[in-house]
Symmetry: C2
Subunit: 483 residues, 2 copies
């Protein structure tokens, strides 16, 4: 699995070959491959964190946590495939006496084939070489070719070396995993006939360009992109009256976390008009230190984004300054404030993601004003409501459910638990599909259903045989049956 | 729901409004709407069949069966949503003691919003106004705007009238269902911001053009298209030796069924070289009467398709004649035969769907030759193998699984059972997604996941409340729990 010496077509050919072996491997075998990768990363965490910190400035504590999250994710997928529901096995026995006669029909989800994964800048472990896209694709038996992010090439190479070594030692087929670098290799991957799906985490322009390539192929393939998210937060009048200090502190901590480079950073905060909340957030933010950003390019772009907001008439700088040299000094927090009316007048300038420790407070006057401006907010990964116990927020929550994949109550969106129920995805441009990239159900992105009609028992996938010796949940003649 | 007097923007606005009511309706309410539609169609079946027969020439027996299939389909989806698994409810209780603390997270699938459905020419009931796309979208709470097929406009209007009337009488919201006509209205629908997904059954060029529109929107939407399928059939040497007469009769019945206008028509039949099977198929086909095709345009196109095959060097006409006036006399069966080598030389001319009662026999010499030519066959809805009991066909079946969504054994693909396990979809160009358009799991096309984090019990969807008073299957803290 040395990738440096092979051409792209050799890599995809090897992946196509490996796809057959991986599809035929048992769930237990693939679970062992994932666990081996997790073990290798854990065993080398200190070295990996050191390389990552040098390349991304994210700091050892955060990066150490991210390694644990990444290996926990690999182990979650090992459990998911062992449990077996992910195969969605359905058996309908035949009924020759029906009109028309009904055949025996058995459906299962099969791996799609080789998958291309584009690493993110901001999560060098959890959304990168051995991150969620890679883990969920390998879990279901899809070979993976990762496109390294230019922001952490050395880390990508070292991680890939560990992944490849662990897979080889665990008996996985050659060609199951590879790493490539460079923009050209990335676009070639998306267009390669051997590649059957793409996972991507990154910017809207970059992601959309690759999405367009994937969908304009002679044979379009699914493109699972996570592109951009404003993560609106709504604070009700009652909540603000009851706990404005706590809310200001929580918001300040969340929008500055990791230098504001989280895809779930709260970028828009809707607050009742005519309160002193902006000053409270300003006070809570002002002592946050400037932070080095992921890359020089990202740090250079930050002040430009700030200037774009500041230039809009009706937008005030409530804390910090737009005159900063984030590349030299680190990125300092900036809080903007404006009115819902201003956002409604200039939606294209104000409803845009600014990567970095900044957020926009938007004052609304009443539920109707709030609903009108929320209707302009593009699809997001998360939407949050801060309300008081028992407050009537049904229609607000319904509206937020329509624009995000995760709706939070009285919390902050920057944490993303890796669980069965997680949904990390939302209406475009948050993501380009109806799926999640985090959590157990992420595997469904890399599977396709196949039904077998009147198949001899011996030819059937073990999950579809009459005896259910795998002991997995199945639907049989319309009834869900647990093992 | 009178559609004639409303503009497209009025229809989509009404659908957007109805989406809220439909999303809030209970599964039992939506099941009642589907059942009301089924009852209305059944009660008016004789009239509908008469209109349909006049417009499509498909004949009363076939059309009567198709009405029953269509109403059975509506009732299946009513049962599917009542059972409740389709919500994929997942509950992970919080763990404040975990590192980091784990929130309470509950995920459910929600309706996407208004859906556009393009009717098919060849199934005026089952893949049309009240067909599978409409039924599965309504089932999960998505309003539907159907684009009528020009081949059966009167039937579409009468069906739509019955559907709208039944929905209204059953208490469904205004705007839940509408019908539009004309190519211009169709392309406008796919580009309308209110439309959140598209269902389509039709040709490769037409479907691809609409797919390209859907994916090039500012906010791309899922396009569930069923475009074209060759439905390869492989007959092993042993099967042919054992029962060539039965196979010839079965094939002749299947490829001529409904004038060869089924999307699952066996269009490619791989047979061992050097047998008399072509003559047997010719004999079994020669007495099949010419059949009137769906539309004049389709009938005019049929001889053109035949000529394209006949013009390829190495292709023989084994039965029938390409010199026919299908529009005037009905479409007569034609059987072509050729070799795997010829197909490998001219794949783009021979691996193309010809709508009508014709099929291509392809002689192969050994497993390797067969595998090489199968590797060139584009994605299909079905793939079939005829083998003898106990014959080793594992690698053949694996290859067929890769190119089709349904793999049949010792049968013919033209029947499509409407069941929980059905998979009617396959690699492009068979379909443009990883889903089925027939069977219980078709509903997943029109749903998106939303997770609620630390939500108050009262605000949660009933399916996510602690008590499970809906009595549906759920996954709780990683374990699947039946009611």
């Amino acid at each position: 699995m040395s990738t440096a010496t092979l051409s792209l077509s050799e890599l995809t050919a090897a992946a196509t070959n490996a796809a057959k072996t991986a599809a035929a491997a048992s769930d237990a075998e693939r679970a062992a491959w994932l666990t081996a990768v997790a073990d290798a990363l854990d065993a080398n965490a200190a070295e990996l964190v050191e390389i990552a910190d040098a390349e991304t400035n994210l700091g050892a504590p955060r990066l150490t946590g991210e390694v644990a999250r990444t290996t926990g994710q690999l182990r979650l997928f090992a459990r998911v495939i062992t449990e077996g529901s992910y195969l969605e096995a359905i058996i309908d026995h035949g009924d020759p006496g029906a009109t028309p006669p009904r055949p025996d029909l058995r459906r299962i989800l099969r791996p799609l084939g080789p998958v291309a994964v584009f690493s993110a800048s901001n999560f060098p472990f959890a959304f990168s070489v051995a991150g969620g896209d890679t883990a969920s694709a390998l879990a279901v038996g899809c070979p993976v070719i990762v496109k390294a992010h230019s922001g952490h090439v050395k880390l990508s190479e070292r991680t890939a070396e560990l992944v490849a070594g662990a897979l080889r030692a665990a008996g996985a087929p050659e060609g199951l995993f590879a790493l490539v670098s460079g923009r050209e290799a990335g676009t070639a991957l998306v267009q390669d006939p051997a590649i059957k799906a793409v996972g991507f985490t990154g910017s809207i322009p970059g992601g959309r360009a690759l999405f367009d390539l994937a969908t304009s192929r002679p044979d379009p393939i699914p493109f699972y992109g996570e592109l951009g998210s404003l993560n609106p937060v709504v604070i009700t009048e009652a909540a603000l009256a009851a706990r404005s200090g706590e809310l200001a502190a929580g918001l300040a901590a969340s929008f500055t976390l990791g230098a504001g480079q989280f895809c779930t950073k709260p970028g828009l905060v809707f607050i009742p008009a005519g309160t002193g909340f902006a000053a409270e957030v300003a006070a809570a933010s002002k002592d946050k230190p400037g932070a080095r950003m992921l890359t020089h390019r990202i740090a250079e772009a930050y002040p430009g984004g700030l200037h774009q907001f500041a230039a809009v008439p009706g937008v005030k700088v409530a804390a910090g300054t737009v005159e900063q040299d984030a590349a030299a000094d680190g990125a300092a927090p900036v809080v903007f404030s404006t009115s819902a009316a201003t956002v409604l007048e200039r939606p294209s300038e104000l409803l845009e993601e600014c990567f970095g420790p900044t957020t926009l407070l938007i004052e609304y006057t009443g539920a109707e004003d709030l609903a009108a401006v929320l209707a302009k907010v593009p699809g997001s990964l998360t939407a949050t409501v801060h309300a008081q116990p028992g407050e009537e927020v049904t229609s607000l929550v319904e509206q937020l459910s329509g624009l995000a994949g995760r709706v939070l109550f009285d919390g902050w969106p920057t944490g993303v638990a890796v669980t069965w129920s997680q949904q990390h995805g939302g209406p475009y441009p948050a993501t380009t599909s109806l799926f999640t990239s985090v959590g157990a159900t992420a595997v469904r992105r890399f599977q396709r259903p196949v039904a077998y009609q009147d198949a001899p028992e011996a030819i059937l996938h073990p999950a579809l045989r009459e005896s259910n010796h795998l002991g997995i949940p199945r639907r049989v003649d319309g009834e869900l049956v647990l093992p």
